[in-house]
Amino acid sequence: MGNVQIKGVTKNYGGVRVMHGVDVDIEDGEFVVLVGPSGCGKSTLLRMIAGLEEISGGQISIGGRIVNDIPPKERDIAMVFQSYALYPHKTVAENMGFPLLMAKRPKAEIAEKVNRAAEILDLTKYLDRYPKQLSGGQRQRVAMGRAIVRDPQVFLFDEPLSNLDAKLRVTMRVEIKELHQRLKTTTVYVTHDQIEAMTMANKIVVMRDGRVEQIGRPLDLYDRPVNLFVAGFIGSPSMNFLQGKVATQGGKQVVLTEQGIALPLDGVQVEDGRAVTYGIRPEHITIGAGGIPVDVSVFEPTGSETLIFGRVGGVPIDALVRERIEEEPGKTMLFRIDPRKAHVFDQATGQRL
């Protein structure tokens, strides 16, 4: 079946190692998102699965078959590129039918499969058009159509929505997800946009500098990031980080910052005196008595919520609240932190405690 196994995969460019032994297990029918900042190796990993990039070490298998030395066309995969990679001189129907034509399928079968894919993607009206006569979203759908006519074991998407405007991106995100729920084909999807990753994936693989930082379900990554990098990368707006030392105050453990501000802890077992990074997501902060004093500089009202930018002892801290706040910037506000939602990381290693 369409499972993908990546075992200890490495990649060297010249003498430089850019991929340091990546292990990922992708089960049949899963929607896996590879996410990370640019240069983290996520696209390289996808291209290695596709066979467009050779691997320097390790093993990749698709559907139980080791594909290290198998050329792309025999891997039974379909790929959608960021640029869509449509053939400019072919019509929509010819573009979508191309893989079948190459597989020497009978004309009637090609026409039937192309028509069915066009129906699924709402492209029937455009079958005779050329790519240059289509909008960005339509081109995107043609690229997906070309992938689904083949009925491959695995779909590979390389940042497919990056060239679309914000509104269309949301629509296409939903369409791709619906398509996956309908076809249940194993999908590997690369993006640098953590919102896309969170909303689409069954499983997220967070990568940095050619290494896997964490693999898990979207909400697990959000709730229990294993290190500072994942904590800062997943979630928008991103997590606040404050440096301090663990101490006991009034019988309760807190993290004490240099400025003597006590940040509440709950349910974390750490010895007193340890230098830690305290993390709290902006959405886990409320405004009210008993909070820490923050000098507020900017309010960003979006209607549904308000994003407040502030500083505590010179360190930036943001809060995302549901209320509408009509205050002058420059005031001091009290940010109340929910201690059960706080994350504590070792200052030296960045690992979760």
Partner: protein, 291 residues
Amino acid sequence: MQSKKLGWLLLSPTLFILGLFGIFPFIYVVWVSFHEWNPFAANPEKLFNWAENYRKVVFDAQFLASLGVTLAFVFFAVVSEVVIGYLLAQAFMKNFPGKSFFRTIHTLPLIMAPIIVGSIWKLMTTPSIGIIPNLLDTWFGIDLNIGQSALAAFSITVIMDIWHWTPLVTLSLIAALVSLPSDPFEQAQIDGANKRQVFWHITLPMIRPALIATVFIRLMDAMRTVDEVLMLTGGGPGSATRYVGVHIYKEVFPRTNYGYGSAISVIVLYLSIVICWLLYVSLIAPRNKKG
């Protein structure tokens, strides 16, 4: 108003030069072609004789033979140049040691004047002293004599043209290949196309505009080849390599048949336009209608 005047002012040097060296000579040739004019004949005056020159051209066996060998020459030369040029362009797309050196060397023929190319090839092919007949004789026992064998002379003119002009094709196809996006090619690999299919389905259609432009340029140039061939074979042996350019030259200069020569020039120009138009109609127009 002011900007319009300024526009014409800025255009005027170009228009002047174009008019003086392009439009005026063309109109003059057309005008002369309707005259009987041989300044060294008993009557050196231009005598208007309607379309008599054109009537003569159409029934001139020597001209028709010349046109036939020209078309054969153009066909073999241009087809070979495009095929070899494409293969070289593909080779130069890959990395190999000494690539830029070879690329430079291979474009050198382009900067040589045709008259020089003709002289060099004459030196290389002259029986008994030229290197080519010499080697052919030593290695294969072939006796190459372009002064006697019509086929040999014809072949050598074709090879000379290929040697001289393939780099032009290579350069323009390199430019076309370099500018192609890489994604469709990777996509084609995933879509299951092999090398041959990638060439016919992806590469060729995508470089088509550059390819057609190059073919047009080479076609028109080859149609009016004169100096190289004149230098190499002088149109012989017999009239084996008397291409239309050479034919016109011989009519106009040694025989000073200005009126008749002009009429042939106009006919050849017309034929070039017709051939290009046919190519355009068969290769470009159908795509434009669709695209």
